[in-house]
């Protein structure tokens, strides 16, 4: 209930701020709208990404570096077992030879197969649509890795040190993109999006798919976008344009 009231209030404030005509205050309002630390996330939001493949350069890996730095995904020089939460895919059409590039990561499905198959419920979807692994109850069976249609999950194959305080990860559990939940809870965008916008080509956009006034929702309404493997009917939170 409180979540609902708070979310309504945030929209109200946002409207008021818009009326007041804050020019430079856009970022300020965003921060002001942050949920308080005590407040639980609610299903009124659904966080998602819109990725424009036409802006994504083949040789650019800004999003990948951004993610690796944020979560300290340092590898062990063993590419077969090292974790990758986000990776760049280069696509070549077999008929037309058209080449495109895009980042692939957890698609934060509304109906995630990883959540379906997890025996302990460690794979779960937060009310605001972010799909996570509760590493406290993950037993490391890897069934979710088998079940993910996007190859988005990694299993931690060795003991880790130097984890970030906001991104716990450890041996014997499965992990994947958290949509930078620690940043989202502070109303910041995920590290990959920030890296793409500052060091890359601005191909990624983050926002609330449920808020019709959000930039991402407007963009999605205005131009066609697609889900990867839409045939599975998973209703992904990550959508692509111009593949």
């Amino acid at each position: 209930m409180t979540a609902e009231i708070n979310a309504k209030r945030r929209r109200l404030i946002k409207g008021a701020a818009a009326v007041a005509g804050l020019g430079s205050g856009l970022q300020l309002v965003e921060l002001a709208l942050a949920k308080s630390d005590e407040e639980a996330v609610s299903a009124l939001q659904r966080w998602g990404l819109l990725i424009d493949s036409s802006k994504c350069a083949t040789n650019c890996t800004a999003c990948v570096s951004g993610c690796n730095e944020e979560h300290n995904l340092e590898g062990f020089d063993r590419p077969e077992t090292d974790a990758q939460w986000i990776r760049k895919l280069d696509l070549t059409d077999q008929q037309t030879q058209h080449v495109s590039s895009l980042p692939m990561l957890c698609q934060h499905c509304e109906n995630p197969p990883c959540v379906d198959v997890c025996p302990t419920g460690a794979s779960f979807k937060r009310d605001d649509g972010i799909v996570l692994v509760d590493k406290h109850t993950c037993i490391g069976c890897r069934y979710c890795v088998i079940a993910c249609p996007y190859k988005a999950r990694s299993f931690v194959h060795e003991s880790l040190h130097n984890q970030k305080s906001y991104s716990p990860r450890g041996k014997g559990t499965v992990e994947s993109c958290t949509l930078c939940v620690h940043r989202v809870d502070k109303d910041l965008s995920p590290a990959c999006v920030e890296a793409c916008n500052t060091k890359g080509n601005g191909a990624m956009m983050f926002g609330d798919l449920n808020d019709a006034d959000s930039e991402i929702a407007k963009q999605m309404k205005a131009a066609p976008s697609r889900q990867v493997r839409e045939d599975l009917g998973l209703n992904t939170g990550v959508r692509y344009q111009n593949i």
Binding site: E80, Q94, M104, T120, Y143, A147, P149, K151, G172
Partner: protein
């Protein structure tokens, strides 16, 4: 007519030799699991592309063999084939022990095996694994109850009922095991409900083979014997199931071959998959299918013991090959995210994943099999599982 039962003879050197060897392999298997757990799974051949490896092949083999091994008991109490009744106890015992061996492998291969308690207290009931936790532990319970009704004379009247219940339970259990793969939409080679009957028939095959092999060993130790005519009936029944399995596997592949979207994975398994293709044709099809069929139904008269043992070994090799091709081949073939596009990445998209089993995986798998047999050996020494033919009329065999 009632059958007398006995424990095995005391003070045999061969018994302790078996126990010693099996115990050693089981211990080494545990050491291997411990090594993989403390170092992390990177020391295994498994990786982020092929997350289930050789341990899972062995574990699922044992779980299938467990449910199949119970069928000798079912033949007597559900289908009232009384000639199998003397072997019902051993059949149920073997079923329990094989299942425990399989489960131990699965648990020891978990990333966090010490969190078994979490798996026992947190359930997501949409997960097939969660169903299987109940199906597997329930199976042990059901089989123990079934055994009790066989052992305790006053409970004998309940044997047919509990036998029927166990029979139904084992079908559901194997259906659950097949569903682990059959219900996975993400992989080209899984996602087929026919996996369920394929696994059920495979369980009937390997269950019988494991029963015959085990019973030959333990009867020799126990001073009783299993008659060749009974083995002939069993092996012919096994032959029918081998034929049925070939049919189901053919249906599976023909269905895939008809649909263009599955041509890639079929090409991989049937033609271009290297080791997987070899295992499919030589292991699964010839060793596990056509050769046993020839050896069983090509025989003019009674099939001799050597041939029976050969058939059992062949179908075991065939089943292991089939599980290897299904589980590991199914993961090695790349997931198709963008049909009609060639895909490349740093994460092995669009290429066949590399997997070569590491020694610890093999040792863990063999350790699980040894543990199963070790449990059988302990049980037959403590309780009367083996028929005592001195008191049984020859007509029963």
């Amino acid at each position: 007519m009632s059958t007398q039962f006995k424990t095995i003879k005391q003070g045999q050197k061969t018994y302790w030799l078996w126990v010693g060897v099996l115990g050693l392999i089981a211990l080494v298997g545990y050491g291997a699991a411990h090594h993989m757990e403390t170092e992390g799974h990177w020391v295994s051949g498994m990786n982020n592309q092929v997350v289930w490896g050789l341990p899972h092949v062995f574990a699922i083999f044992l779980i299938l063999a467990a449910s199949g091994a119970l069928n000798i008991a079912s033949l007597s109490s559900v289908f009232t084939k009384l000639e199998y009744k003397p072997w019902a106890r051993l059949s149920a015992l073997l079923a329990i022990c094989l299942l425990i061996g399989g489960l131990v492998i699965l648990v020891l291969d978990l990333g966090r095996p010490e969190r078994l308690i979490v798996a026992m207290t947190h359930y997501n009931f949409k997960s097939i694994f969660a169903w299987n936790i109940f199906l597997y532990t329930g199976f042990v319970l059901v089989a123990v109850v079934y055994l009790c009704t066989m052992f305790e004379r006053s409970l004998n009247k309940w044997t047919p009922a509990s036998g029927l219940f166990a029979f139904i339970w084992r079908f559901v259990l194997t259906a659950g095991t097949g569903s682990i793969f059959g219900f996975i939409v993400a992989r080209q080679f899984f996602d087929a409900a026919i996996m369920v009957p394929i696994f059920i028939v495979l369980s009937l095959i390997v269950g019988k083979a494991m029963f015959i092999l085990t019973s030959l060993v333990v009867t020799r130790l126990g001073g009783s014997y299993i008659s060749l005519s009974l083995l002939n009936r069993l092996i012919k029944l096994l032959g029918l199931f081998v034929a049925a399995e070939l049919f189901l596997v053919a249906v599976f592949h023909f269905t895939n071959l008809y649909a263009t979207e599955h041509h890639g994975v079929e090409h991989f398994i049937l033609l271009s998959g290297g080791g997987y293709t070899l295992l499919f044709w030589i292991g699964q099809m010839i060793a596990g299918g056509f050769l046993p069929l020839y050896l069983i139904f090509g025989a003019k008269r009674e099939i001799n013991l050597a041939r029976i043992i050969l058939v059992c070994c062949l179908v075991v090799i065939g089943a292991l090959s089939q599980l290897y091709v299904t589980i590991i081949g199914g993961q090695a073939y790349p997931q198709v995210l963008f049909p009609g596009k060639d895909v490349s990445s740093t994460f092995y998209d669009g290429v066949v994943a590399h997997y070569s089993p590491a020694l610890p995986e093999l040792l863990l798998g063999l350790g699980g099999i040894s543990l199963s047999l070790l449990l059988v050996f302990f049980a037959i020494r403590i309780l009367p599982f083996l028929p005592d033919q001195r008191f049984t009329s020859q007509s029963t065999s």
